[in-house]
Symmetry: C4
Subunit: 275 residues, 4 copies
């Protein structure tokens, strides 16, 4: 199907009045090493602005202060503090791993831990460096049906073994069926594969081709899964909204900074929210 | 009584022209450990934007830099620096303890100190982790009639021993009379108990169900007590304004970030200020 | 004289087209200890937004990061690094000392250094803690006619020995003549004394009675002296503009945060700028 | 030629729809010591807002946190970490060195490294302290035809040996031909020299005469070279847009802070973008 605004109206439903912050999900975001701390900050901005109930960011201690400047709304944990991290992870409804994670042995250790402790009640979103690690190590996903992969075309090549030129719907879908995870192949026209479903995103523009756009999308997908039904429809809605906001901003901005997209999310979600 | 705008007009009075910053109260905020620093930052944003005269934040040293980014208007003290903290606390008109405080032995030590040094001229607001500590330790309040408790329903269950299902006006009021402190029981419909008075808050919405909303409310209550008459009416006005701003923002925002509420406070207070 | 907009039009003149950043003065701001770092940040925001050409802030190293978040436009020096600080100070046209300086032996040492190295080509603005130190130590001013003091009434009592109740124009002017420095006595109605001149500020409101308002004024005075004729007229213009902006913001804000005043300065200066 | 809006329309072209972040260039910015960290932050703000695809900032570790507050969009590297820095530099399409670099032996070492590793496929922009170092050491440029120098008049005097009074088109052009690099001589009326071409910038105003304006320009030039044809036309377009935005802001701001210019870039680029 071709993504459209109708999907947003279906997914973004009115919040129940008898609710509290836990109603909208506990989210854990893991990433941001000494060099790429901005990536996990951008994911967190997207997650919180998309309405996740409670967000904890597990990252290098160096990133805590800038993160709290952007978002006093999140909790933080030093990714060297195993006990605190494990507690946060075990309480999570959705875990995102990858933005700015890096590909060191330490990063790999974190990914392995996540794959080991994931329960069948939890969803996992794998993005950025974590996809590269997954491709290199051939680690298997414990709950592929509760997993979302968000590779851009080059990362998908590494992960699937399909060269960019050979990435057709047929080959991608075949590989998705083998892997089992909902797969968001990002390009100038992002496509989402899940079993027999293919979602085509015709929104999005070259103004969004700048560092951090993918980190923002990963954060949005995570927050949508935390509050709305956990399925490919919800993932597709996050992808479409991300591009739709970008297109709107691109009318007046030559380059659309990812942080600008995140700022705009609450108002766009209100716009599409159905009674 | 049902909270309404008339209450705001009564409480938010025009500032006397012959005044200076001390006229509007000295406030000390205590909280924010290594993991939950954002909580005390959000309380501080609410306190300063609500008009407290002079605000000192006692928190983990790690939180000082992000706090000063958000608010160069506050003074800071490292919560390990006992002498400086004690001086600040002794000069305070109102002390808030709890947002992001944590429940470690160190956190408990801070709470015990506050309960020991409080004088009859000072008001105390107890929020967040400090309520959990209070429930666990059964510490007694030195001046309950100068104390405000702000539990959400689960914290109130821990503190009062009344299960959420059994939290009726009758049982809550009975317990409040026993404890003696003004008690703000937060839920999708917050209620305030003090002696024979019950204040019902019908404002507020599910868009506010996100991490930090309670920290913001605690900061507003603290600032209102610092400048306006120190009583349950003033506490109720802070509760109502917090929800009213949230409702207004929820018309255009699917999720209302707590920092957005704080930004809007000075303009809403001007709106309701009576000559 | 009573301060009015005409004074602003006289002082805020159009910048010469053949100019560069040095044309508008080199400024050094000294203050901000471990506890009061926000004060020097607020002074710096005022200084830069008021148009000083090049600004260096000498402060505790702890304050550098939050300062650079607020103002990448400034240069910083660790106040423990004597050589770097001395170089910056010697190149300055105007030096401000005091906001958040504290009253430790180290702070006093800094003040003594400034009073020792000041040359007759430099102006000095003394504010906040530095006034308290001056009152305690009776240090003498090397160039009083190139010095501005900005005490609030209590600081003026300490400095002048005149109790607040006895602070009349007559007594204040007499003491100013003795001290020799331009003296800005801050209260709900600030008055400026210099020789036979008295300037009355009838602007300003109780909405500005919050921590940081004085630090902001000190920064504005410093920047005005850096670019405009170095005299009491220019100091008075800064005082008046500060209050005028505050009054404007107070129409819509119950409390006017000092950082909001600083943000508004460039537009207000453009408004009053004469051809 | 006299710079005008037509040049902007020629240079700022519509982005190809089949593109990704690498399409718009990998940029490395080098500068920002312990004292002048704000300079490289301002360059980075200009670079990212001008549309560079992927930006890495190599700077003193002290500047990482404030940089990530301003721009989570950038990657960072500690300039003491040689291996990481070298990898980033080797992948860059355009390198900027100089803003806030300082003139220490360490700074010189960084400049020497850059001049040693530059390949013929890379462009180099040399600004600020790096120009002073270049003047002192007479280091030679490996690829002058792929180099841009951005001295203000005093830096140009040091570099060229031509005193400010003697800086005429004739003398400047002669020296440019000798050096071989595109030379942007900044003054109240900036002029760009390259072989037989001279570009006159009649835009810009004294409101821009404040610390950081040059750092911002250097960042814009770098981003323009990263995405548009690498030549003097593109450099000239960046210079003109910088002044044009400044002039527009100067209509309402007595002093135009450099960070304000950067914020406005995406919208101005959209305005001039041709189909």
């Amino acid at each position: 199907m071709i993504l459209d605004e109708q999907l947003l109206r279906e997914v973004i439903t009115k919040r129940p009045s008898h609710s509290h912050k836990s109603t909208f999900g506990r989210v854990v975001l893991i990433g941001g090493n000494q060099q790429y701390g901005g990536a996990i900050i951008m994911s967190a901005l997207a997650t919180v602005n998309s309405g996740a109930g409670l967000t904890t960011v597990i990252t290098d201690e160096k990133n805590h202060a800038p993160l709290h400047v952007h978002l006093p709304e999140v909790m933080v944990a030093d990714w060297c503090d195993q006990a605190t991290c494990l507690t946060a992870i075990q309480q999570a409804d959705v875990v995102l791993i990858g933005p700015g994670l890096g590909t060191s042995a330490f990063s790999l250790g974190l990914l392995q831990t996540i794959l080991e402790v994931q329960t069948k009640h939890q969803w996992l979103v794998i993005d950025g460096s974590a996809l590269t690690l997954l491709a290199e190590t051939k680690l298997s996903l414990p709950y592929p049906e509760h997993t979302v992969l968000t590779p851009h075309q080059m990362e998908w090549q590494r992960l699937s073994g399909i060269s960019i030129a050979a990435q057709t719907d047929h080959s991608n879908q075949e590989k998705q069926n083998e892997l089992g995870a909902i797969t968001v192949v990002k390009s100038h026209q992002t496509t989402i594969y899940n079993k027999e479903n293919i979602y085509y995103n015709q929104a999005g523009s070259a103004a969004m081709a700048t560092g951090g756009t993918g980190d923002t999308l990963a954060g949005m997908i995570t927050a949508f899964l935390a509050q709305f039904p956990k399925n490919d429809h919800t993932v597709a809605a996050a992808v479409y909204l991300h591009s739709l906001i970008g297109d709107h901003l691109a009318q007046t901005h030559y380059v659309v900074l990812p942080t600008l997209i995140s700022q705009a999310i609450p108002q766009w979600m209100a716009h599409f929210c159905t009674e």
